[in-house]
């Protein structure tokens, strides 16, 4: 059973098609990246998944069926539009929102206290929320997202407003949750975070799915025209099938001619008897793939 199954959802606001026949599945126990540039339709898709909006067409299954009030207690959501009740104390605010997630009063109090200690907020619990810094408020939001031990966590830009120390703490926390079998959907455009954390991803642009699958598969799919070589000695000036050679630190980047595969180059170098320390197919970074996909506007069927 998938944690989330999105099947051909579309949503139009006025004359703008926000989401256009988007489909993807999120498997249990993975960190899934939902990527796309600003205004691509990520937030609308999430809102449809969470039953805040109804789709014009298509359907969504979450935790094995339609959204119900019971299921809401098993979902943690950190929205892009961050918000907390500003005029009450942190402790009251967290307890209230934890109780809305179905925790009993004593349970909520205990969990909130434990989380506040972990996030270094315990000493600030009697302060009004509006008196806290942006980073602290962000941590408070993460507490609300995770306090009820949800099965499914959906987080929109989890690292914005966090310093490197807290960023690392949140990363560790997300991995920890995944290792406990929780499903995490991470919505972001910080590609290096996705590379570091996500197992699979979907990339949406102009409301349409552009890329979808395992991170490693996608990178391989976009690779193939560059090879990184670290020889023990010098490389010959000409290698068949290589259109250009660039120096790169202690090695070389070989730009392959059309129709040439990395395997053919390796075979050629071995046959020439050139001793190699390292031979690597240069996989493009997700950043590069992102820019390439977003600027070329190709659609994945």
């Amino acid at each position: 059973m998938s944690s989330i199954k999105v099947n051909q959802i579309s949503k139009r606001f006025g004359n703008q098609q926000a989401v256009d026949r988007v489909s993807f599945e999120v498997e249990p126990g993975e960190i899934f990246g939902l990527l796309g540039p600003n205004g691509a339709g990520k937030t609308t898709s999430i809102r449809i998944i969470l039953d805040i909006f109804k789709p014009d067409s298509g359907e969504v299954e979450i935790l094995g069926g339609k959204m119900t009030d019971e299921k809401k207690n098993q979902i943690g959501y950190l929205p892009e539009e961050r918000g907390l009740y500003q005029d009450i104390t942190l402790e009251v605010c967290l307890n209230y929102l934890a109780r809305l997630k179905g925790l009993k009063p004593a349970e909520a109090a205990a969990r909130v206290e434990q989380m506040m200690k972990r996030f270094d907020l315990y000493d600030h619990r009697k302060k009004k929320v509006k008196e806290l810094s942006k980073g602290m408020q962000q941590k408070a939001q993460l507490i609300i997202t995770l306090v009820h031990d949800p099965q499914l966590v959906i987080i929109d830009e989890p690292f914005s407003a966090l310093d490197p120390v807290n960023t690392q703490m949140v990363k560790d926390l997300l991995r920890e949750e995944r290792d406990k079998g929780k499903t995490i959907v991470m919505c972001t455009h910080q590609m290096h975070q996705v590379e570091e954390l996500c197992d699979r991803l979907v990339l949406i642009n102009h409301g349409k799915v552009m890329l979808y699958g395992k991170l490693s598969d996608i990178r391989r799919q976009y690779s193939g025209q560059e090879v990184i070589v670290h020889p023990l000695n010098e490389l010959p000036a000409q290698i068949p099938g290589v259109s250009r050679i660039d120096r790169d630190n202690s090695g070389y980047i070989l730009h392959l001619a059309d129709q040439t595969t990395p395997q053919a180059i390796l075979k050629n170098l071995v046959e020439q008897g050139i001793p190699l320390e390292r031979f690597e197919v240069a996989l493009p970074t997700l950043d590069e793939i992102f820019i390439q996909v977003v600027t070329s506007r190709g659609e994945v069927s």
Binding site: R47, L50, I52, D69, K72, N73, I75, Y77, P79, E81, R82, G83, L84, Y85, Q86, D87, I88, Y96, L97, R99, L100, K101, G102, Q141, I144
Partner: protein, 400 residues
């Protein structure tokens, strides 16, 4: 616990526990008590309790005995009535300030009832009444006591209408004042609740907490919790003030025994409850609607004024309603949901309301309340996720 109750108690306690609320709650009754105290004190201090004298030129009241006080109450005092042998003596007493006035019972009193009064300042009408009762009591002293009492007290007139058991006591205009007083308290409570509700909804929007909340419980549960939580704040205020008014009324009954005859009963209070409650819900729902459509609290408050203002309109036309409680204006106000809660109880104190008018008025109010809730929940659903963008009425009404 149902999530509705979590929202309800959070909203309720948030306001009720605040110092500002408690101060507001206490300050109004305190203010009224001070005003009442000061005016009673002023009246008591300005009252002239010096005796009045009389000279009997008719010879009818030679051995008149002072009569026992009939009216009683904390603030009711009877001045002494003292006889004088002649006008000069009485004149001297008046000049010396021992008495405030004296009456001269003319020789032809039996035939004409002529009495002259001499005073330096105007004399309270109660003293005239006491004096004439004094004379009457003496003339009737040999009469059968039952007949004597009947003549002295006069008839007790009760007006009764044909088609209902409503009755008007001839002696008391206080019922009308109570209707006005309840109306004012209602208006204050509506404003408090409405204001809190408006703030609570706009705040949700300004704080951008809606998405987290909507993924925790349903919109209906959330909205209902918010509306009833904030409504209860106003109701708490209303009940506390009514309780205080009850205490004040007990005190007033001791002080002014005449009030005991006020013709206010169960039917008046049920009429009040039946008009106030739907009106309360209607205003609350409209405030929620305004809160969800506006983008910031200042803007919302300006629009909200448009709803709370019409409630007070009947007070501007109170003279016209009193003069003609069955006129087209009064009847029109009774059928308009904003003005009905003020008009209907007021009219019930002035006239006999036909049952169909009461039924229609309450029916319209309940319909208006239901329609407002419907509008509010649509506006809430559509408007709450629109940060920094207004929602128009056309958008709320447009079918989806």
């Amino acid at each position: 616990m149902n999530k509705f109750w979590i929202v309800f108690s959070h909203e309720y306690l948030r306001h009720v526990k605040r110092k500002r609320f408690i101060l507001g709650l206490i300050s109004i009754p305190l203010f009224m008590a001070v005003i009442m105290g000061v005016s009673i004190l002023a009246a008591a201090l300005s009252e002239d309790n010096r005796p009045v004298g009389f000279i009997d030129q008719s010879g009818l009241f030679k051995d008149a005995q002072p009569q026992p006080a009939k009216r009683s109450g904390l603030f009711v005092t009877h001045v002494k009535i003292v006889p004088f042998a002649n006008e000069t003596e009485a004149r001297n007493a008046l000049d010396d300030g021992e008495i405030q006035a004296f009456y001269i019972i003319q020789p032809d009193y039996y035939a004409t009832g002529n009495v002259k009064m001499i005073a330096q300042d105007s004399v309270d009408s109660d003293i005239h009444r006491d004096f004439s009762e004094y004379l009457l009591a003496h003339l009737l002293k040999n009469e059968n006591p039952t007949i004597r009492t009947r003549i002295l007290e006069g008839p007790e007139l009760v007006l009764r209408t044909f088609d209902s058991d409503q009755q008007f006591n001839s002696r008391n205009p206080f019922g009308f004042l109570i209707a006005i007083f309840s109306g004012v308290i209602f208006m204050l409570a509506v404003n408090t609740s409405g204001g809190y509700l408006l703030q609570a909804v706009v705040e949700e929007k300004e704080n951008r907490t809606m998405e987290v909340v909507l993924t925790s419980l349903s919109t209906d549960q959330f909205m209902a919790g918010k509306i009833f939580g904030n409504l209860s704040v106003g109701l708490t205020q209303l009940l506390f003030w009514l309780l205080m008014a009850g205490v004040a009324a007990l005190f007033a009954l001791r002080a002014f025994p005449d009030l005991r005859d006020v013709g206010i009963g169960f039917s008046f209070f049920s009429l009040m409850a039946l008009t106030f409650l739907p009106a309360f819900v209607m205003i609350a729902a409209l405030m929620t609607m305004v809160g969800s459509t506006a983008t910031e609290s200042r803007e919302a408050q300006q629009i909200a004024g448009l709803f709370s203002l019409p409630i007070a309109i009947p007070f501007w036309f109170i003279a016209a309603i009193m003069e003609n409680p069955n006129g087209p204006l009064a009847i029109g106000f009774s059928f308009f949901p904003f003005t009905a809660p003020m008009t209907l109880p007021l009219r019930s104190m002035l006239t006999n309301l036909p049952a169909w008018q009461v039924g229609l008025s309450i029916g319209i109010l309940i319909l208006a309340a239901a329609a407002s809730i419907w509008l509010a929940s649509r506006a809430f659903r559509l408007g709450m996720l629109r940060y920094g963008k207004k929602l128009t009425l056309a958008e709320i009404l447009r079918p989806r």
